[in-house]
């Protein structure tokens, strides 16, 4: 926090950017809906919720682990990653969580604002069960987000400068909208092989009450399996790591 506070101008810029993003996303959804009340089976408030959850996960994910995994490449190229391997900690854990970006937390306010807006609009219809399921869904979404990042970042150890993190950003970017905008076959992929539906559409559906707790349990199981798989791939790539720099 103190480190971030050193650049006060940066904090102001991040706030302005957050407002800008929020404005553009609201404009985009307004234009996408046009005069229609419903877009691919979602009302405008529900679409705000999906986008809000995505913003929240995107910027919180960046604040906690995205920023660290992005720096992995420079750490590998400079040879600094050697010191990570010597620490009595999981190298994947340390590489993911050793630093924290306060600036990205500021950007995550755009997500919080959109989610709050939905809650204000739909306040009378909520039950505690749906709220708890929604919170669970968001946590599962965050675990998926981490698993995606870790999986693709791990290849940096064996082969730096591979561009995979740009790829994961854009793949996760597809979850910014309800998955119903995609064709049925693509939706099937997003629930199975590439489970990005669990990032925003499923948590939003749990809050809205379209999906039941069983999907949350399936999602949690898949997320744990996915993280385990990502850790396994990380270990395989650590074996291929060759120290550089000097």
């Amino acid at each position: 926090m103190k480190k971030s506070n050193t650049y006060k101008g940066e904090i102001v810029v991040r706030f302005l950017r957050t407002l800008f993003i929020l404005g553009i996303q609201l404009l985009l959804l307004t234009l996408v809906f046009g005069n229609s009340e419903v877009y691919v089976g979602w009302t405008k408030a529900e679409a705000y919720l999906v986008m809000g959850i995505w913003n929240l996960l995107n910027y919180l994910g960046w604040a906690f682990f995205g920023i660290n995994l992005e720096r992995l490449e420079s750490r590998v190229l400079s040879g600094e990653f050697d010191f990570t391997l010597l620490k009595p900690l999981s190298s994947a854990w340390f590489s993911s969580f050793y630093d924290f970006s306060t600036y990205s937390v500021i950007s995550s306010l755009s997500g919080a604002a959109l989610i709050t807006y939905y809650f204000v609009l739909e306040w009378g219809t909520f039950t505690w069960e749906r709220i708890l399921l929604g919170v669970g869904g968001i946590l599962v979404g965050l675990i998926f987000w981490y698993a995606f990042y870790l999986l693709l970042a791990s290849f940096t150890l064996a082969n730096p400068r591979n561009g995979f993190l740009a790829l994961v950003k854009e793949i996760l970017g597809l979850a910014k909208y309800p998955v119903n905008i995609y064709s049925n076959s693509v939706q099937m992929i997003f629930f199975t092989i590439l489970p990005i539906a669990f990032v925003s559409t499923v948590p939003a559906s749990l809050i809205i009450g379209r999906m039941g707790g069983s999907l949350l349990i399936i999602g949690a199981g898949l997320a744990i399996l996915f993280v385990r798989f990502s850790y396994w791939v990380w270990k395989q790539n650590v074996k291929k790591y060759v120290s550089a720099g000097g």
Partner: protein, 274 residues
Amino acid sequence: MKEKINQKSNFKNILKRITQMFFAQEFMHKEQLFVWIIADIIKIAGLCFVWSASARMTGNMDQGYVITYYVLMVLIGKFMQDITPENGVRQILNGKFSNSLLKPMSYLTEYLGSNIGSNLFRLLVSVPAFGLGMYITNRLGFWIVDFNPYLILLGLLAVVLGFLINFLLGNIFALLAFYNKNMEGMRIFYNNIVATFSGEYIPFVALPLVALFTVQILPFRYTLSFPIEILLGRMTNYDIGIGFVIGMIWLIALYVIYSVLFKISIKKYAAEGI
């Protein structure tokens, strides 16, 4: 102070060599670049789905127009990219900008060459993806471009105009690094602004009239959307002419702004790093 070599006669050769150098440099990291381009295509495909679904459901715009718009963006976007906001800013902040000042040519020549080299390589890698996108769109009956030579010529001129505007905008932005040492947030914000007002996130056909007028007088439209709109063939000759006039005015204005700001800003510059 340095002596400048005869730039007028040598500019072309220097630019050619720098372009070749950066082309080769990009080729060294071809795997990374290939993945970046796939990532870019995924982003564009996502936007294509969003607006195509909107066109289908609301009937506010032609689905073929929106889909073809984004397929063209795969290719046109590669012509227009500018790496200065990242590389130029980094060079100023880490002190390597001093090297550029000592070279017997303007650093803009170097940046221009690096952009052309980089864009040429990205363009070549994107051609198969564009071809595939065009083929699929055509098979589905959504492709609306009829490859009119007149429009292609105007589109290419608009690409050159847009590239130069984007290049100057990027270099004006990079000058901020003389005053501010933490440019990360500003750079991301700048990229968001350019992407939004250039028509990447929102095709201008979806905008209401007041917003459309605003984006038409801003320079960002000319850095991406304008050449695509020309190629789509739905613009009148009058609108195309007005577009070129506004674009040219921006090009001249941005060059003047850049020159003045550079003269003021360079006095602030002190090299850092060792």
